[in-house]
Subunit: 289 residues, 2 copies
């Protein structure tokens, strides 16, 4: 496994691989790799000749009051995980490598961002698309892999690729869950035992919403209301939002008549948990293993 | 020679060519091809396996009061020119092909634009970089060719490629001139005979500026003043601007201590003419045949 730290070296390798007609699968990460990342690496490993993963904590996607400095980093551990998942290349550029001079252009999201988690993270997704546009040009992937736990991020990257005709196929990988159904997250360690027991009901609430749709309910308001009530009556968490939007456009809709996302964020004492399900108008999951 | 009108078809062809290890040279145009375009096509033909040119009048780079509707179009003539210059592919997408839905992202220039011609064309260069980012992903060129008559455009495209790490080499091709030195332009036909005789002095004025630098003059103010005076005393044209800026950053500088551009725009009765020279701090031209 190669560890590459220089943009030019990575891009030259990618260009050389293209000339050899090799397909490149790409898993962009901010490091501190966990089981969710392993699943992405695994999916990418299966359908590409070459597997490249990047580890870069992108300052552009952190707000001034967010935790860029405190964001956890463990390069040694990450390299080991990448090795275990049979990556061919780990790309670990410095901030100076990625942003050697102040940028002359800015890339900004005009929609898909003022809903769900985007409401409280102004500019976050602009930083995400900017670094991904750069990484796509440096790594030249045929396919790029993203976890659907961050469904809004996946929707934003979908817009990037569609708007600018990137020759990259996007793969959305379903959320990894505990047996209980609770979405895996590094933040779950901040839950007390009692909170953990309660948090299981977030997934149950979303499933309940899905069941309503499967049973023919079409009104957004009713679905959102029942999901919210379920969370309220089964947890002491404070709901940030429960919403149902079209996917991937993330537009408001009164009725379920196309692919939609049912998503929620819930505050517990020391952790804010997010989860979502994306399904077709008949209630069948849109992304499966 | 292939004429392609669909984005997907063009991109698939480009991907296939990459797999065959063919280099692609790209000349983006808005059609109505003239001698300047021929020179770009010729340069691209020489150093690439495959020559692709695009013809697309990009609505995004026209302001509301500009001449998008009136912009001259002659597809038959353009195809003939492309054929004569041995192009392999002419890509002629419709506006709907290039912009099938309203874009979710916007790409905007933060610098290099509030000087020279950019002062009077707000948003113009945002439209230029947006369509070029798309075309670069659709055509996947190894090298892209631009005329240095539009030196600000070349500077802007340079920023696009640098900021976002596009794997594309840019080639700036020197301005085509009449024997008199007057820069060739489709707008020259709007000049009266007398104006044409006068307009020759625009190039002479720029050469005079270059000579000053060659002779060791370093103060921007003096150079700009002498060039302006030369134009004023040798033409009845009205000067829009004469400026000397660093190149390609287009930043203000008091002294010539690096690569600079000396540029001017002059209004005649029915035509606004632009011209420029780019040279090193010793006065030697930076871009030559």
């Amino acid at each position: 496994m190669k560890v590459i730290r220089k943009v030019k070296e990575m891009q030259q390798l990618a260009l050389d691989l293209k000339k050899e007609n090799k397909s490149i699968g790409f898993v962009p990460t901010m490091g501190y790799l966990h089981e969710g990342h392993r699943k992405l690496l695994n999916a990418a490993r299966k359908e590409n000749d070459i597997l490249v993963t990047s580890i870069f904590v992108n300052p552009l996607q952190f707000g001034p009051n967010e935790d860029y400095e405190r964001y956890p980093r463990d390069e040694e551990h990450d390299e080991q995980v990448a090795q275990e998942e049979n990556a061919d290349v780990v790309f670990i550029p410095s901030v100076d490598e990625m942003y050697p001079v102040p940028m002359s252009l800015s890339l900004t999201m005009q929609n898909r961002v003022n809903v769900l988690c985007g409401q409280s993270r102004e500019g976050h997704f602009d930083g995400v698309v900017t670094v991904l546009a750069k990484l796509f040009h440096i790594i030249l992937p045929d396919r790029a892999y993203f976890g659907l736990k961050d469904a809004q991020q996946f929707a934003v990257v979908d817009a990037l690729v569609e708007d600018f005709n990137f020759p990259v196929k996007l793969r959305g990988i379903p959320t990894v869950r505990e047996e209980s159904g609770l979405a895996k997250s590094s933040r779950n360690v901040y839950l007390s035992e009692e909170e953990h027991r309660q948090a299981i009901n977030i997934y149950k609430a979303l499933k309940k919403g899905q069941d309503l749709i499967k049973n023919g309910v079409r009104q957004k308001d009713r679905i959102v209301k029942e999901v919210s009530q379920f969370i309220k009556s089964h947890t002491h968490g404070k709901i940030d939002y429960v919403d149902l939007l079209t996917y991937p456009k993330l537009e408001h809709t009164d009725t379920v008549d196309q692919r939609v996302i049912l998503a929620t964020a819930v505050y517990f004492k020391k952790a804010r948990l997010i989860d979502n399900l994306i399904f077709e108008e008949n209630g069948e999951l849109s992304f499966t293993e």
